[in-house]
């Protein structure tokens, strides 16, 4: 078996992902509007209510939110691929099936980063980002966070058989991951139980990195930069490994055959 890395298939998956992203305008608009609503409505409201600079604290959180939603939704299109049949094109391609996972994660992460960059430009125009930003760290933070989100999304997709689960995935994976992170409040100020959950949530470390990069002087971050990167890298590697294992065990395809066979009867 030739295991040399093949970049054309990865490029194929990436190109398709981006084509789809720009064709589904509403998905792209929602990815921009959702965080802005949080920032302007909730952030603005709480700032007025509490008299603290809550809005600027929220900037890393909403940037992270774009990546979380963007990467997870992109990775979850794998479930749509299984249902619509496009997965057939992927499983019949001459590459190990684990390579599908890698290509999908890379593409979902790229799509999410692109959305984050668009939002960042919007935020800069609105005056919420730009000053005091550590750009190098921000680039690395965007990459590491979107990869981790994509990997977690792919792990979810590998174990989901149909789009019927979609609402469940939103409610039981994406929202908890977002709310139980340091996005809305500093982790150190959370009650102990919530604090532990946030500490165990890999996404927390992505948001923490964004805080380091965007608010270097506000001291709003909870963890060290090195720890953040280590946790994100570990989470990405673990999620990719488990998702690849799942895909290589023909299970990526076989349930589909049963679904199709069941439908035919």
């Amino acid at each position: 078996m030739r295991l040399r890395p093949r970049f054309r298939p990865v490029y194929a998956v990436l190109e398709r992902e981006l084509l789809r992203m720009f064709r589904q305008r509403t998905r792209l608009v929602a990815a921009m509007v959702r965080p802005l609503i949080w920032l302007l409505v909730i952030g603005g409201g709480f700032s007025a209510l509490l008299g603290v600079e809550y809005q600027s604290f929220l900037v890393p959180g909403v940037l992270g939110m774009t990546m979380l939603f963007g990467a997870m939704l992109a990775a979850l299109t794998t479930v749509y691929d299984k249902e619509s049949g496009v997965m057939r094109m992927l499983v019949i391609a001459p590459m190990p099936h684990a390579w599908i996972v890698i290509a999908k994660v890379a593409s979902a992460a790229a799509a999410a980063m692109l959305q984050a960059l668009l939002l960042l430009a919007l935020l800069a125009v609105l005056g919420y980002a730009g000053s005091g930003t550590r750009w190098g760290l921000l680039a690395a933070a965007l990459a590491a966070t979107s990869l981790a989100c994509a990997a977690i999304g792919m792990l979810t997709a590998a174990f989901s058989r149909s789009l019927d689960n979609f609402a469940g995935i939103m409610n039981f994976v994406i929202f908890p991951v977002f709310f139980l992170s340091g996005s809305l409040y500093p982790v150190r100020d959370l009650p102990p139980a919530l604090g532990w959950i946030a500490t165990a949530n890999p996404y927390t470390y992505g948001v923490d990195l964004l805080k380091h990069a965007l608010l270097p002087h506000a001291a709003s971050a909870d963890f060290a930069v090195g720890l953040d990167f280590a946790v994100l890298a570990l989470a990405t590697a673990a999620a990719v490994a488990v998702a690849s294992w799942r895909f290589s065990r023909e299970s990526a395809y076989e349930p589909m055959i049963h679904v199709l066979a069941g439908r035919a009867k």
């Binding site: 078996m1 398709r16 094109m89 019949i92 391609a93 395809y253 055959i257």
Partner: protein
């Protein structure tokens, strides 16, 4: 290709399965299949729905792991060398494998890149295939706007874009109307003539398997019969005589006396004529044809063979 010494036969076969089987819990989908298909051969796997044709195809295409037996495709083991097998084959699934949101050209480009083809090669083959399949003017249309027949044609173009040595076609014409089925068959014939590739076809439309070099019947996961369709049809007879009439029983009895036992299906009776000379039938028609309201003489086909055999009659 690394073939062990003394296995010349193995490497010459395009597809070779021995004792191939698949169980899903209690259900035996495929039960100890032995098949050997030579390079360039057009092989048809026939059988009713749910007989195990698709499972067999998917095992040979490395998408399902066999639970018994072994198989090599293009000389590669389907379990140990799945990537090499997939590089050598093209597979057209029973259901569409296209992205409805992408255009015709984008789908082919996606498939080509997945097969690691350079963009230049993809562009060139895209042109050739779209021309061959009559889809040039649909190039930039989303797949969602294509008719079922065009979508199937595109799916086949997708399956042969990387010029596989072996093409698997799983019920390629299912759900299509007759003109589209004929078109699809013309494409497949063109491709075979041009590339000389091996084709393994599954279908339950028997008349479509008539062009196969060899066919095998599969029932409940087991191979029942296999052979060349032409030879089977020739064994059945040179002509089929179909008659209808007000007194079909009497007419059938009269014909049976001349032609041997026939088949009855509703208001039609079928008889086989072993003589190439239609003169004998013409004389028969002059003699008793006036009792028939319809009298048709035609060449027999695989359907007749299937009906004949399943009726328990000997091909003789």
């Amino acid at each position: 290709m690394n073939a062990p010494l003394g296995s010349a036969v193995d490497t010459r076969a395009a597809i070779r399965a021995s004792g191939l089987g698949k169980r899903y819990g209690q259900l035996t989908a495929v039960d100890g299949l032995d098949i050997e298909i030579s390079p360039g051969e057009f092989f048809g796997l026939l059988g009713p729905n749910g007989s195990g044709k698709t499972t067999t195809l998917h095992m040979l295409a490395t998408l399902i792991r066999p639970s018994a037996g072994s198989a090599t495709v293009a000389g590669f083991d389907v379990v140990r060398e799945p990537v090499s097998v997939r590089a050598a084959i093209g597979l057209v699934f029973q259901e569409s494998a296209l992205d409805r949101m992408l255009s015709v050209a984008e789908n082919l480009r996606f498939a080509g890149l997945l097969h690691d083809l350079p963009l230049r090669v993809i562009a060139q083959r895209q042109r050739e295939l779209l021309e061959l399949f009559g889809l040039e003017d649909k190039r930039d249309q989303p797949v969602a706007t294509l008719s079922g027949g065009m979508r199937r044609a595109l799916d086949i173009a997708r399956g042969v874009l990387h010029q596989p040595r072996i093409l698997f076609l799983d019920e390629p014409t299912i759900g299509l109307d007759l003109p589209n089925r004929r078109r699809i068959w013309r494409f497949i014939e063109h491709l075979r003539a041009r590339t000389g590739m091996t084709v393994l076809l599954t279908t339950h439309y028997l008349e479509e398997a008539h062009g196969c070099d060899r066919v095998a019947f599969i029932r409940k996961g087991r191979l029942v019969e296999s052979g060349a369709p032409r030879a089977w049809v020739e064994r059945l007879g040179r002509h089929m005589l179909e008659v209808e009439g007000p007194d079909l029983d009497g007419l059938a009895a009269a014909l049976e006396a001349k032609l041997g036992a026939g088949l009855r299906e509703g208001d039609v009776a079928y008889f086989r004529c072993r003589d190439e000379d239609v003169g004998a039938i013409a004389r028969l028609q002059a003699e008793i044809g006036s009792r028939a309201s319809a009298w048709r003489v035609r060449r027999p086909n695989l359907n007749d063979v299937f009906l004949w055999v399943t009726d328990g009659k000997d091909l003789g």
